[in-house]
């Protein structure tokens, strides 16, 4: 009995600590975003709840927050969709088709993703400048695809490997073409994996900072992380309230996406394909 109690206390303490550790910055961010005090970091003045910061970022045209948000959503969605399209075709090939050097392909893809971003950035900038693509969506989407593809491919390969090969054979016998197998069998069965991988690619692209910083110059293509980071230089002072409101606001798409797809992600759809 005593032992159980001690165990419970330890588990609870551990969990609370973990929660606080992870969520404290968020709480701080949210409370700062709701504060009317421009000098939130100073100890003077009262804490007064206001939505002024949110109104400012959503309406003030000089901040371009809405532009940043739109850019981010477009770039991240395009990246996620294209990445998953390519990655799932590749994963299907790697797991299903007799192809020489499969492992070599998988590992070289992994090796490519090991380059630090910073080592690529100068050449990438020259390349995009040469194409005249700096400050366009394409300048971000293409490197993002290259950057998220290895991880997506590896995750999808592991998902596709769990799908029994007999399903492909059954679909072939039932008259499917390879393309139909992918569309009618593999995709639906691997849906949880595909959705969570899409989400992951989206989050990666949404949060990416360095490429976006180097390859964009203004609100036409600049994404949220860079946009928010550059809020500060704008008027000489650091608008903490605006920054925090913008940060809070920009986590919303991720939270909403995760909540919407939560059930699909958790669902184990492969159950029951084979004998129980």
């Amino acid at each position: 009995m005593r032992e159980r109690k001690i165990k419970l206390v330890l588990v609870l303490t551990g969990s609370i600590f973990m929660l606080l550790f992870c969520l404290a910055p968020f709480l701080y961010m949210i409370s700062a975003s709701l504060s009317s005090n421009q000098y939130f970091l100073s100890t003077q003045g009262f804490f007064e709840i206001t939505l002024e910061n949110y109104r400012a970022i959503l309406t003030a045209p000089s901040l371009h927050f809405i532009d940043y948000l739109r850019n981010s959503l477009i770039v991240s969605s395009a990246t996620a969709v294209l990445t998953i399209f390519v990655a799932s075709l590749a994963a299907y090939c790697v797991t299903r088709l007799a192809m020489p050097g499969k492992i070599f392909i998988l590992f070289s893809v992994l090796a490519v993703s090991m380059f630090p971003q910073i080592s690529l950035i100068s050449y990438l900038f020259k390349f995009m400048a040469g194409l005249g693509w700096v400050n366009t969506y394409a300048a971000l989407i293409l490197p993002y695809i290259a950057w998220t593809l290895p991880l997506s491919l590896w995750i999808l390969v592991s998902y596709f490997m769990q799908i029994p090969q007999d399903l492909d054979k059954a679909a072939l016998i039932d008259g499917c073409s390879r393309w139909q197998i992918l569309r009618k069998v593999i995709f639906p069965v691997a849906a949880p994996g595909i959705i969570s991988t899409t989400l992951l690619a989206f989050i990666f692209a949404f949060n990416e900072f360095m490429f976006a910083l180097m390859l964009t110059t203004d609100y036409h293509a600049r994404t949220i992380p860079v946009g928010i980071a550059l809020f500060q230089g704008l008027h000489g002072q650091t608008p903490w309230g605006n920054i925090m409101a913008a940060s809070t606001f920009s986590t919303l798409p991720l939270v909403i996406l995760t909540l919407v797809f939560q059930r699909r992600i958790i669902q184990g759809l492969t159950r029951g394909a084979l004998k129980g």
Binding site: D166, D174, G175, C176, K184, T270, G272
Partner: protein
Amino acid sequence: MSTRGSVFAAQDVHLETRDNEFFVLLGPSGCGKSTVLNLIAGLEKPTGGEIWFDGKLVASADRNVSLNPKERNVAMVFQSYALYPHLSVFDNIAFPLRIGKENESTIRESVNRVASRLSIEHLLNAKPAELSGGQRQRVAIGRAIVRHPAVFLLDEPLSNLDAQLRAATRAELKSLQRELEITTVYVTHDQVEAMSLGNRIALLRDGRVEQIGTAEELYNRPANTFVARFIGSPPMNLLESHFIIENAMPAVVIGEQRVESVESSGFRPLAPDQYILGIRPEHIYIEEHERAGSFKSELLAVEPLGREMLLQVRIENQDATVLTAERKFARATAGAILNLRFNLGEAHLFEKTGAQKRVLSPSNTGIA
């Protein structure tokens, strides 16, 4: 016929099925029977040889022809059932029709017809995960027979069912096949399944055909010792023996003991040599007393099988089994000496060397 890696999974396999025949490919695991099935289905390409459906060439390595499964119009039931987990039972059965772009009312009609034939109407809205093994099996069969395939292929469809269900499904499959009148190729490693289902059986080993024939032919006239051991349960005894002619009388000698039997006169055309004597456990009788022509053997163990008992015995340092229905042996102790008599009229002789081919057996010697 096909290479897997650099290993030939099946070669020199020449099979011809007859119209509406229930043809069984039998063999131990790894003998290439599933490869042959995949080749017929079009899931694998042959590296040599040809496959014909009626008058239609569906695969040929030399002529570089390989129709895909769709063009061959084959249906297949897998050992794992391979149901689509994201689709309901109805949609699973309807799947091949939908791919074939049938109209929706035809699909509904066909699926309902098949479902009622297999008594799974009440399951049409369930997902495969909610079904028992036997029910999944039925759905898999339903998906295969819902269209009218040219060939019906079954890859060990019963091995995941428990023994009772297996026997019931076996009987049902047989009547279903007779009713549908579709040429069927059935792969199994279970000789009981093969014997009870197949019009004809091809026994494979290491990618080669050992014998093709009806269950009766394989049982009564095994082509070699492999077939002899594989078909029938408990398996046939194979005993090393000498065939001699003494005083113009033929006799079979095992170790130091001799079978003197007038019945063995049928062996006369054989040259005296070493042979392997094949005799089924039910064709060895136990004599009360030692007499001419009986064999002494030592009892090793008794296995009760219910109606009968299987006695493990040792004859001249060779192990053998004897099947008996006499209850008194249930309490016999190991080490007891039994007097055995062989019914040589039911025995087979195999060459001692080479392929161990059958050289004589009752049906072609007339010594029964």
